[in-house]
């Protein structure tokens, strides 16, 4: 990590360094975008669709997305399923445990806004963007695997646009 952070600083000092930086940007962002490992974080109904997307027919692996059980190894949380008030601190904790750069996809109505429990459930968090920053929202109850794939492609595009300098 240290090298990657300092690299642009070193390179900029040598003449023509900017050109090299852009190329590195390309290499890094391409490779990061095509190996987004996601945290297996499913709480409710949407988790079944997440599993189905990972399984035979839809085959998540071809986007380079493999599930990990530990937040320390993953780049992305796909929050699939209802986040209740009791679960919300746990989601924050998991997010904090992930290494930067990290991304969040809100999958399903529940995580986007509270979904079917928006009006009269005292227990459901009305959207996870109250808790963690969200990169891509996928509406649906549950979203079809195709929408999830589309959401992931959108996130990949976003990751590809990032520069090394943008990393915090």
């Amino acid at each position: 990590m240290g090298v990657i952070k300092k690299l642009p600083v070193y390179l900029e000092k040598i003449p023509g360094g900017n050109i090299v930086t852009t190329t590195l940007d390309y290499v890094f962002s391409q490779s990061r975008a095509s190996s987004l490992w996601y945290l297996l974080f499913g709480t409710a109904c949407c988790a079944i669709e997440l599993m189905a997307t990972g399984a035979s027919r839809y085959d998540f692996d071809r986007l380079g997305m493999i599930f990990r059980a530990s937040p320390r190894q993953s780049d992305l949380i796909i929050a699939a399923g209802t986040i209740t008030k009791k679960m919300a601190p746990r989601l924050k904790l998991l997010y904090d445990q992930m290494a930067e750069p990290r991304y969040v996809i809100a999958m399903g109505g529940c995580t986007v806004s509270g979904g079917p429990f928006y009006y009269d459930s005292y227990a459901v968090e009305k959207g996870i963007d109250h808790i963690v920053p969200v990169d891509v929202y996928i509406p649906g109850c549950p979203p079809r695997p195709e929408s999830l794939l589309e959401g992931c492609l959108t996130l990949q595009k976003r990751v590809k646009r990032m520069k090394i300098r943008d990393w915090s």
Binding site: G42, A47, Y122
Partner: protein, 370 residues
């Protein structure tokens, strides 16, 4: 529990969950451990409490059906069915003959789909990936059939009070027949991967033995009960809908360990396929829904109706005061009791067996937390 002389370790507390890949959702266990051996288990629930029962008090009877979908999403059809049965009993609604058959077809297909999820996740928990892919492959075929009928893959909102929402399209029956013809060979495939697999047997045989007395004392129902040798299935013992017209077996086993629960579920998939086949052969023509008024008001009273779903007895208790919304709805799912019995099963086993036992009980959390 303690090992041979001088090998004692200090007891310590271990927290598993709520985010853990093999707790099937957001269940949390607080374990007391002595070395690798579990000495006590305390399940902590409530991480998925969405107040479904409370929401039902603010919805009309037809609006509650989509809420019941979220109650037990692996077998959403049976939730629809349970609530519709209760409403029909309360309001005295008739169900046309064709609708009854459609219901049975969907319920049994959904049972297979749910057991396939169990099959996939169980083997994933025990470290095998191939069965997961196998299971979800056939599940997609079933979901295709649901999708062509009601347009949804998981939360169907299909069975309504008084019938079903849509008729099956023309293409359904050939597709279903094709699926059923191929299915038995597919189940053979599953069995070839796991049933005789020495690793699978070592992980599951004589692990988590559930005695029939314990199972009855804790009100465990469904396949977990039948694996302990109690032949009790609501489809046979308290037939609802038209289950008394079909010919099917109720698989049971004697030992009640994880392996037996596996065998019972596998055999249940075959029996469900048998029921679907009979139903699509006998299905009559006719209307699919009786006349039901919008926002109907059932008379005051209370009713409890139960159906057998893939996790046990699912029941709905409705209390009505003659308004268009119920006064109180209580949902009962099979998983709650299965979670309660977990401490009895796990104590004295190694920590890795907790995962095997949890997987074999097929617990899902919305069913517990509601």
């Amino acid at each position: 529990m303690s090992e041979a002389q001088g090998l004692h370790t200090k007891e310590f507390t271990l927290n598993v969950g709520p985010h853990h890949p093999s707790t099937h959702g957001v269940c949390r266990f607080v374990l007391q451990m002595e070395g690798e051996v579990i000495t006590s288990v305390t399940p902590v629930i409530g991480y998925l409490h969405r107040a479904l029962e409370k929401i039902c008090e603010n919805r009309t009877y037809e609006q509650i059906i989509p809420i019941t979908d979220r109650f037990e999403y692996c077998t959403a059809m049976s939730c629809n069915m349970g609530f519709s049965l209760a409403t029909e009993k309360l309001a005295g609604l008739e169900v046309p003959e064709r609708a009854e058959y459609l219901r049975v077809i969907m319920l049994e297909l959904n049972r297979i789909a749910s057991h396939l999820i169990w099959f996939g996740t169980t083997s994933l928990d025990l470290g095998a990936i191939t069965p997961f892919l196998y299971g979800f492959r056939e599940r997609e075929d079933i979901l295709d059939m649901f999708e062509m009928t009601c347009g949804q893959r998981l939360t169907f909102n299909y069975i309504r009070p008084g019938g079903v929402s849509k008729d099956i399209p023309k293409a359904f029956i050939p597709v279903c027949k094709k699926f059923l013809d191929a299915f038995s060979a597919k189940v053979d495939d599953y069995e070839r991967v796991l049933t005789e697999n020495p690793i699978f047997i070592a992980r599951n045989k004589d692990v988590g033995i559930l005695k029939p007395e314990t199972a009855i004392a804790y009100s465990v129902s469904g396949p977990s009960l039948r694996a302990s040798g109690v032949k009790y299935d609501l489809r046979r013992d308290d037939p609802y809908s038209i289950y008394d017209r079909f010919d099917f077996e109720i698989p049971t086993r004697e030992n009640g360990d994880c392996y037996d629960r596996y065998i019972v579920r596998i055999r249940e998939m075959r029996e469900s396929a048998k029921i679907v086949r009979q139903a699509i052969e006998q299905i009559p023509e006719g209307p699919i829904r009786s006349k039901v008024k919008m926002n109907f008001k059932p008379p005051a009273g209370e009713v409890y109706c139960r159906v057998e779903n893939s996790r046990g007895e699912m029941g709905f208790y409705i209390q009505s005061v003659g308004e268009k919304m119920p006064l109180r709805v209580k949902m009962r799912g099979g998983s709650y009791n299965q979670l309660q019995v977990m401490p009895v099963l796990c104590v004295g086993h190694k920590i890795a067996d907790l995962v095997a036992i949890m997987a074999s009980m097929d617990i899902i959390m919305p069913d517990v937390d509601r």
